[in-house]
């Protein structure tokens, strides 16, 4: 299974790149993807997850071709 993984804001800086691919038959959920991309546990703070641009949880299933994103709590709007 092939999953596109994206990082935003502080998480992008922590991992050092904005996206990567995970190709493995061992990933069934967002949590599995996270383990694959963060073996060294560099991601800190509260994490949010999205699958195909919809908010997801660690146990949300992922499928071939999905886009999974990891990012910190959002801070849009006015200051």
């Amino acid at each position: 299974m092939s999953i596109r993984v994206r990082f935003f804001a502080s998480l992008k800086e922590q991992v050092g790149y904005s996206e990567t691919m995970v190709s493995s038959d061992q990933v069934a959920t967002v949590g599995d993807v996270l383990q694959q991309v963060d073996r060294a546990s560099v991601l800190t703070g509260r994490l949010l997850y999205a699958v195909n641009m919809e908010y997801a949880k660690l146990d949300t299933p992922v499928a071939e071709g999905d886009e999974v994103a990891f990012f910190p709590p959002v801070t849009g709007g006015e200051p």
Binding site: R6, F8, A9, S10, G45, A50, M53, E54, Y55, A69, F71, P72, P73, V74, T75, G76, G77, E78, P79
Partner: protein
Amino acid sequence: MRVRVTTEALDPWAEVTAFQSDSVHLRGQFGATACFVGTMRDFNEGDAVTRLSLEHYPGMTERQLEKITVAAADRFEILDVLVVHRVGDLLANDPIVVVAVWSVHRKAAFDACRSVMEELKTNAPFWKKEYLQQGARWVDKNTAG
């Protein structure tokens, strides 16, 4: 309903005026317009902020903003909603976001405008990085509503 993310300078009043002119279905129908504009300050949490970098998740941002406006239209008796959000590099006094709501009576316009702003701050994937004189920092929490 219109949702837009822009890297260019945002003129909130021009956006509202243009949307209203384009919206023939509003003519003579609306009695109330509630509008909110968020603008970059030159200070935050006691520090001088020289500039701000606003990152977003292209595609997901628009999708989430659309969900927010549809939810507002379901929940409140409103005629239309406009949301325009700036991204990229901003300086103090630059407008960041404009939310405008049209309705027959004022209660629905006020309620919906406020609700859209709260939802936007909670659910739309935008991230702010502030540049201070002594370096940069990610803003890690929202202001209370």
